[in-house]
């Protein structure tokens, strides 16, 4: 199939050697690339019970057949491993340009195995691979690291790096690129840190061949105009993800004070209208047809962002209203290499614990200076940071407040309140990497489109499966979230680029395989229905404000949603994928 380079680069960090091998094209036909193909490789190559920090864990960078071509919004890179935060399979999606550089260097994927004996960085320059010393970079923030390496290798080099958080194996640490883009969740940065890899520098001067390139390029220019940049998609270019603030606040799902309530009457102090006044420019990823990135400067707070999640967690969910503080929190988290969502959720849990007098973490809602100080301490595991770095699950097991420790399987809750969108509680519970909003995006159907009533368990099993199917195949192609293309368009693009016929049914089949294999990986690690959970706060406490005031989710309703979800997928009532499906994967 065209579009692919038909090559995987395998790097043995322990022995400082490398080799190339053909990409497994049987698997590529079934899983395409990105999320799906990465999980397939790790399912086959990782033994159950592998310690995520050991040299036996692997770090896999996976592109797709569209990467490096003018298919709009095809610039994302899947980075996958076994999660140190949860012990589940973990796939992240990072923007910027590194996906394209990997493809132009001649590879579909790069697999990192083993670990370096001391801190280093890897240079991939087309077919030249070098293992470099990084003892002078170790300890530096991601931003300074990128500046130094960029000066040495030039602007065309893409640089993936970790900050001190990844070096210190914080299970909330991320991998950075282009200064302000992340592979954020599940502790992916800590896997890189456990391998003593400070950075990966990628230079690619080659190209990508596709089917009938001149006609394909013509067709892609039409698709860019008629579909990608059509009026209804332009909000993401005009406002970025700040657009979600208004929709979520009005829809009753913007969380306040560690998910204790929703709807912030002061949201106009930090909303899109305010933040975008400080916008200095726009940026997108490689091959982007939209351009969601807002480059914002308020005083000394500089960030491409903040995105919806980062605004909500450091804003209303922390009792903070100061837009400069919100931007600063994002900048600091990016630099020290922490996931804004998880790190933020830990801090706001700590705020509630302190306010309630259960344990004094020394920080209360609204304390914007301490929020930023605590991010730095967490990255270094220093002082109170040593405890906070444990994450909300382990921290609550140690000190209490488990009812409002908002996580699933040890991955902290994204910023959509499920009592205002019941299907989201299911989506968070069954997501393959712990509580994640990017596996099944329930607010679309329950709030933004209002096509399905939000405060009921009825029909949510099927709804979450349908949403999960859409994202599973989309992130395997791998395309960006913000182009809401139909599955017929996905099939058209696959046919156009690879030269092999793909139908919408094929896209559905790929999606189902990806959902099953991710579950199979976790099942092999011992995960069952008992781990698909909902925090007790959602059962016991009704929301007080906003359109969803009075709402809480009865445990029986949650169990019913789980029953329905498993049934639609053909799993048993304990959430186990049956053998007939396992053998087909």
């Amino acid at each position: 199939m065209l579009g692919y380079q038909n090559k995987m680069l395998r790097i043995d960090l322990s022995n400082k050697t490398y080799s190339t091998e053909p990409l497994n094209m049987d698997w590529a036909e079934k899983y395409i690339g990105g999320k799906g193909l990465a999980i397939k490789y790790l399912y086959e190559e990782l033994k159950p019970g592998t310690d995520p920090f050991s040299e036996h864990n692997k770090l896999l960078l996976m592109t797709g057949p569209f990467t490096g071509t003018p298919v709009p919004c095809s610039g994302k890179l899947a980075i996958a491993s076994k999660s140190p935060a949860t012990g589940t399979i973990l796939d992240c999606s990072i923007g910027g340009h590194s996906a394209l550089k990997i493809k132009y260097a001649g590879y579909d994927a790069v697999m990192f195995e083993g670990k370096l004996d001391k801190p280093g960085y890897i240079l991939i320059e087309d077919d030249k691979i070098e293992f470099k010393e990084a003892s002078d970079l170790w300890g530096k923030g991601s931003h300074e690291t990128e500046t130094i390496l960029s000066a040495e290798y030039g602007k065309e080099a893409s640089i993936l790096s970790i900050g001190p958080a990844g070096e210190n194996l914080v299970t909330m640490s991320c991998i950075n690129s282009d200064y302000y883009r992340q592979a954020g969740r599940g502790g992916i940065g800590a896997v890189m840190g456990s391998k003593n890899v400070k950075a990966i520098v990628i230079i690619g001067t080659g190209g990508v061949k596709v089917n009938d390139i001149e006609n394909t390029t013509k067709r892609l220019s039409e698709i860019l105009r008629e579909d990608t940049t059509s009026e209804e998609n332009m909000f993401i270019y005009e406002d970025g993800t700040t657009a979600f603030l208004e929709a979520c606040n009005d829809g009753g799902i913007l969380p306040k004070r560690n998910f204790s309530d929703t709807t912030d009457e002061n949201w106009t102090k930090y909303n899109g209208e305010v933040l975008l006044q400080y916008r200095k420019g726009k940026r997108g990823c490689g091959s982007c047809g939209l351009g969601c990135g807002n480059f914002i400067k308020i005083g000394d707070a500089v960030c491409e962002g903040p995105e919806y999640e980062s605004i909500a967690v450091a804003g209303p969910n922390a009792g903070i209203e100061d837009p400069q503080a919100i931007v600063k929190a994002n900048q600091v988290a990016d630099d020290v290499g922490l996931d804004t969502i998880s790190a933020g959720d830990v801090i706001i849990y700590a705020m509630e614990m302190t306010e309630k007098g259960i344990y004094d973490f020394g920080i209360r809602f609204g304390d914007k200076e301490k929020y930023i100080e605590y991010l730095k301490l967490m990255a270094k595991k220093e002082g109170i940071g040593a405890d906070l770095a444990l994450g909300v699950k382990k921290l609550s097991e140690k000190y209490g407040g488990e009812d409002f420790a908002m996580h699933v399987k040890g991955l902290e809750y994204p910023q959509y309140e499920p009592r205002g969108s019941w299907g989201m509680s299911l989506a968070y519970a069954v997501s393959d990497r712990g509580a994640c909003h990017m596996r099944a995006y329930a607010p679309n159907d329950e709030v933004f489109e209002a096509s399905i009533p939000p405060y009921t368990a009825e029909g949510k099993g099927k709804m979450v499966v349908d949403l999960a199917v859409y994202n599973a195949v989309k992130f395997s192609l791998i395309l960006c979230d913000f182009w809401p293309l139909g599955m017929d368009r996905m099939a058209e693009l696959m046919t156009l680029i690879t030269g092999k016929e793909f139908t919408e049914d094929d896209m559905n089949e790929v999606a189902m395989r990806v959902i099953h294999i991710a579950r199979a990986f976790n099942q092999r690690e011992g995960f069952t229905r008992k781990d698909d959970t909902m925090p007790k706060r959602l059962v016991n406490e009704a929301l007080k404000s906003g359109p969803a005031a009075g709402q809480k989710i009865p445990q029986e309703a949650f169990e019913k949603m789980l029953d329905d979800y498993y049934a639609v997928l053909g799993w048993n009532n304990d959430g186990i994928v049956p053998d007939e499906i396992l053998t087909s994967l």
């Binding site: 394209l100 602007k155 080659g206 270019y237 420019g281 091959s287």
Partner: protein, 131 residues
């Protein structure tokens, strides 16, 4: 009648480099930005400032003037006569936009895709225009 030229508006540029992919796709048989006949880059300078670098053919005509072999003609576009071009590289050296490459002994210069530039067609928000 005014000659059309490529123009760049950085306020509309998102740094996607679809332009460079389209150019190389239409001329080189593969999407290879390193071989594109224009270069546009957006980057964060030390993370603190968003900057742009652009190299596009503006039909200034300096390559035509400097070519010792009269291999280059510049009217509505640049044309290189490969029979006369020796790959000496003087055009590349003198080009103020730095958009000329010498590959396999010949000067490779933007030809505006014969009056219908693909870089413009693939630019999402009109940062590149042909006016």
């Amino acid at each position: 009648m005014a000659v059309k030229r490529l123009k760049f508006k950085k306020e509309n540029c998102i740094g996607c480099q679809l332009c460079m992919q389209a150019c190389s796709g239409m001329h080189e048989g593969a999407y290879t930005p390193s071989k594109a006949r224009l270069t546009i880059e957006s980057y964060y300078d030390k993370g603190g400032d968003l900057k742009f670098e652009k190299h596009i053919c503006t039909l200034c005509g300096i390559c035509e003037k400097e070519c010792p072999f009269e291999a280059i003609t510049v009217d509505e576009k640049v044309s290189v006569d490969f029979d006369k071009c020796t790959g000496c590289g003087i055009c590349a050296e003198k080009c103020p936009q730095d958009v000329i490459s010498i590959r396999e002994g010949k000067a490779i210069i933007c030809d505006t895709c014969n009056g219908d530039p693909y870089c413009v067609k693939l630019c999402p928000h009109g940062a590149l225009q042909y006016v």
